[in-house]
């Protein structure tokens, strides 16, 4: 008996008696063929008392350098925003934490109403008609949007994908395209944004094969895209416009739904969710009414009960795997309800004005950071496009970005993401992200440390921990 079970020897005897067997072994023997029984138990250590497990997990946590241990400007898809204390408290409530998916709506009105509110918030942010109750996370949401486009235009096997779509989204879409029977063709970049002329050309020849144009706002390099122009070109050829968006930036940027976007998806982590080394967070997924029956995942809807009271249920379930099986619009079942709850609580905490104020603050600080860093000798902007909260710079020629990041981290500052890790033509590039937790003095410190680290690198200094990034990828 472990501390999480409660069957005593007395219980067991009574239970076996009620079942009508002499031992538990009889039950297993009767059902499991002898040839596949495990002999001798699992080759795992014995269990530990709670306090020892805590000590072990604490020790492991201390071997990580978290955003609490350094001044970090790392973003590239997940961001170190402040998480209000109310979120910790609300997510810790067992009534939210421990139920399953709301299969019994009469005793799940809390969770269902949260979904309904969440959907409302996402519709407001994206300017689209309908939102589902969450998908796994950002990049798989992009792939799910690709599947929606395939369902909308089964005879069009091609996606045109911006070169500044998040590389994880791009790769996830490519992985799943093998199953979809679709192909991914890249739209080149110009000055840090999707090259609209190149897109026009790609659509002029074989545009009737394209089911969707997929891009990101702001894009992976932090730059603001011309969403309307991209959407218009897609629509001219009967393709969908699919946009992956940063929900924080949508506080100040025009809603994609007002710029011709048919499906807007994105990574929801920035909305009140922890970094958690990459998850769990949530993906949001919103579309125009035209695609409501092609949406993936759970959707909550309003209705009334037997006495006429307002209530909420899971609805439009004939899209879903448990009803439609092989004809479902998606295979998703468990998604990210608790993380989406954090998302809607965060947006309500910010409020109508707060979301805008946060965005405006980020715009100003990001501009200041870009100006300050490009004032360092040899450092230039990788592109000059307007940005909201993230921007790309180039370090001086001949400087290894991974080495400089390591040297800066040794000095207590994580300057950002080494762009050369994802594209050869971005070698020398550094992607720097801001949140409201990075003040002017943090930015000044970053500039100081980056300058110092570049000079140190040029002077032959190397981090004792080695170059930032995978050890083997460095060796290769």
């Amino acid at each position: 008996m472990s501390r999480y079970t409660a069957v005593t020897d007395t219980d067991r005897a009574a239970m076996l008696d009620a079942i009508g067997v002499g031992s538990l072994e009889e039950i297993f023997e009767a059902q499991i063929p002898a040839g596949v029984r495990l002999q001798g138990g699992l080759d795992l250590p014995d269990g530990l008392p709670e306090q020892d497990v805590y000590a072990h997990l604490l020790e492991l946590s201390k071997k990580n350098t978290s955003a609490e241990d350094e001044i970090t400007f790392l973003g590239a898809g997940m961001y170190d925003h402040y998480i209000p204390a109310a979120i910790d408290m609300l997510l810790g409530r067992s009534e939210f934490l421990t139920p399953y998916t709301p299969y019994q709506p009469e005793v799940s009105q809390g969770g269902l109403q949260v979904m309904f509110e969440y959907q409302t918030a996402i519709c407001e942010l994206t300017g689209l008609d309908v939102s589902n109750a969450s998908v796994y996370e950002g990049p798989s949401a992009v792939a799910a949007a690709g599947y929606l486009a395939k369902l909308a235009s089964p005879k069009r096997p091609r996606y045109l994908v911006s070169g500044a779509l998040h590389p994880d989204s791009r790769q996830t879409l490519e992985t799943l395209s093998v199953g979809y029977g679709t192909e991914v063709v890249e739209i080149p970049l110009k000055d840090g944004v999707t090259d609209v002329d190149a897109l026009r050309e790609l659509l002029a020849d074989g545009g009737d094969q394209v089911s969707a144009v997929i891009f990101q706002q702001p894009n992976f390099l932090g730059a603001i895209e011309d969403v309307q122009a991209i959407s218009d070109l897609a629509h001219e050829q009967g393709a969908l416009s699919i946009c992956q968006a940063d929900p924080i930036a949508l506080g100040v940027l025009e809603a994609p739904g007002n710029q011709g976007v048919d499906v807007c998806v994105g990574e929801g982590q920035a909305l009140g969710n922890r970094l958690d080394f990459g998850g769990p967070s949530f993906g949001f997924f919103a579309a125009t009414n035209a695609h409501i029956r092609r949406m993936p995942g759970r959707i909550a809807g309003e209705t009334t009960d037997a006495d006429g009271r307002r209530g909420f249920v899971l609805t439009l379930q004939t899209r879903e795997q448990h009803i439609r099986r092989e004809k479902a619009t998606s295979n998703i079942c468990t998604s990210q309800a608790l993380n989406a709850l954090a998302g809607v609580v965060y947006l309500s905490w910010l409020g109508r004005d707060g979301l805008v104020e946060l965005g405006e603050l980020l715009i100003q600080r990001t501009h200041y950071a870009r100006e300050t860093l490009t004032a360092i000798e040899g450092v230039t902007a990788l592109h000059g496009q307007p940005v909201v909260r993230e921007f790309a710079i180039s370090l001086p020629d001949g400087v290894d970005v991974g080495e400089v990041i390591a040297l800066a981290q040794d000095r207590g500052v994580n300057p950002g993401f080494d762009l050369g890790r994802v594209r050869d033509d971005w070698k020398g590039g550094l992607l720097v992200a801001l949140t409201e937790q990075r003040s002017r003095s943090d930015i000044d410190r970053l500039a100081e440390v980056l300058d110092e680290s570049i000079r140190a690198y040029q002077g032959g200094e190397r981090s004792p921990l080695g170059r930032s990034g995978s050890t083997q990828e460095v060796a290769a």
């Binding site: 472990s2 596949v36 029984r37 699992l42 067992s94 809390g110």
Partner: protein
């Protein structure tokens, strides 16, 4: 909660008029968007500490209208969501025998360790050399899960069970394609969970259903007839969704491997066999785990989950990247371009970053707490509890709710309500709704599809005998009550925050957001 507490909930039939409504029923559901006033706020932005520059964002890119989010103070915000939370039934306050979902206790330690800043505030793109604790944890978790499954290579990346299924079919495809073998079909029994056939389609295959035999396992002759060289894989849940451990699993593996297909295990039911029987030893090539079931990640009202997969040597090269490697000096690395071994011929990525690390922390803590013997004890107790509850229910209401297949079960079992419907006049749905008035979450209803009026019951190992007894007695009470007056159950529930909801209208005239 004692048996007495469980049954104390009033289940006298209250009249359905408004004057008798419970306080919670009287409270009209009001969304956060209908609350608040302009000018109220919970958030205060940090002061602008840099010189303000105008015109940084072109007007054409700027939002014309702000998103119409609520304007609420922190007290309003907190009260709103606390009150909403009270309109949920949850595992911490009552028995939740939802079959196939393994609603076992979620230890609170896990929430504490996951919240440690070294885990919670670790950026996914942190340099692997500065995330050694996380990589060590993931490496250890991979090893432990691999041992439980009896398969050597684990990829933690998939986000839930169905995502693991997709990973499993995509690595299967890559494996066949690498041999120049282009297959088109995937077999799945008619007892399969809906995610199985849905995944088959998304992975670009055609699903071919396999029949279930009278013993509740796969119809071996039907399988033999359908297993041909076009079959890429058989997706099998074992024990299956009837709670039946397939008696012919060895023969099934032989047939599937005989046509060079892969054998995939939907591991949603792993809680029945930890330390007792391992999918790898049964002949499975691939298995997915639901960490939010067997390894007690709290389900959050519909996620998050985590669906790692384990595979055999021949499948390992195709696993998603990045992969974790232990280097010669004992440190850990995270690489997207392994030169050999797992991931060296990768299918690519299935999502961003490494997976749901927060879930890994919880499940790893769980495995550390229980150890090998504790995991085995968990499964043994789960099977004991299920068989005991089955015996109690058969003793009390066996004539109304017979077991659908076999005599005993593994960790869950399916009763059929056909006789009850005919003889007593209430459906399984009515029984489920009336259970709500008794303070229990109902079992899974109308699944698996091949059982008429199915009731799928999974008590899990963390429940006491007293709770199981109370539940069995509640079911018996409801049927007894219905023998006298079926209309009571037919109109249940009465005591829940709302009563039976009109799902048909919700689907016919969808209202999917708060109008503003």
């Amino acid at each position: 909660m004692s048996a007495v507490d469980q049954t104390v909930v009033a289940y006298e039939r209250p009249p359905a008029d408004a004057s008798s409504a419970t306080p919670m029923q009287r409270e009209r559901a009001v969304t956060i968007f209908e609350k608040g006033q302009e000018g109220r706020r919970a958030f205060e932005a940090p002061a602008l500490d840099v010189p303000e520059v105008e015109g940084l964002i072109p007007a054409s890119a700027r939002r014309a209208e702000p998103a119409r989010l609520p304007n609420v103070s922190e007290p309003e915000l907190v009260r709103h969501y606390v009150r909403l939370s009270r309109r949920n039934f949850d595992l911490d306050s009552g028995f939740y025998p939802l079959g196939s979902c393994t609603m076992k206790h979620n230890p609170r330690l896990h929430e504490r360790v996951t919240a440690l800043s070294g885990h919670a505030r670790l950026h996914p793109l942190q340099d692997p050399k500065r995330a050694q604790g996380a990589l060590e944890l993931m490496y250890n978790l991979e090893r432990s899960l691999g041992e439980v499954a009896g398969l050597p290579h684990v990829c933690l990346q998939p986000s839930a069970g169905s995502h693991g299924e997709l990973a499993g079919l995509l690595v299967t495809r890559a494996y066949h394609e690498a041999r120049g073998d282009h297959r088109t079909k995937v077999l799945a029994p008619d007892t399969a969970h809906g995610t199985n056939p849905a995944t088959v389609t998304i992975a670009g295959y055609e699903v071919v259903p396999v029949k279930t035999s009278p013993d509740g396992g796969v119809d071996v002759e039907d399988l033999r007839a359908k297993a041909d060289s076009q079959v890429a894989c058989l997706m099998l849940t074992n024990p299956n969704t009837l709670g039946v451990f397939d008696p012919n699993i060895e023969e099934i593996a032989k047939i599937v491997h005989g046509v060079e297909a892969t054998l995939y295990n939907d591991g949603a039911n792993l809680n029945a066999v930890m330390g007792i029987s391992r999918p790898g030893d049964m002949g499975f090539d691939i298995v997915h785990y639901n960490l939010h079931k067997s390894f007690t990640q709290p389900h959050g009202g519909g996620g998050p989950g985590s669906g790692p997969i384990a595979v055999s040597d021949r499948i390992a090269p195709y696993l998603p990247v990045p992969v974790i490697q232990k280097l010669a000096d004992g440190t850990f690395d995270l690489t997207s371009t392994p030169t050999d071994g797992p991931g060296s011929k990768t299918i690519g990525k299935l999502r961003g970053f490494q997976g749901n690390y927060g879930c890994f922390v919880r499940s790893y803590a769980y495995i550390c707490s229980l150890g090998g013997p504790g995991l085995q004890d968990a499964s043994e107790t789960a099977v004991l509890n299920a068989n005991y509850l089955l015996a109690r229910l058969q003793e009390l209401v066996g004539d109304r709710l017979p077991l659908a297949f076999g005599e005993r079960c593994m960790h869950e079992f399916v009763l059929s309500g056909t006789v009850m419907k005919r003889e007593v006049g209430i459906r399984i749905l009515d029984l489920a709704k009336r259970l709500l008035d008794h303070g229990f979450h109902p079992p899974t209803v109308y699944f698996p599809l091949l059982v008429d009026e199915a009731l799928l019951i999974e008590p899990t190992e963390t429940e006491t005998k007293e709770t199981l007894d109370a539940f069995a007695e509640a079911v018996a009470d409801i049927i007894r009550e219905a023998e006298e007056d079926p209309s009571i159950a037919q109109s249940a529930p009465y005591t829940t925050p709302v009563r039976r909801l009109d799902e048909a209208t919700a689907a016919k005239r969808p209202v999917l957001r708060q109008p503003l």
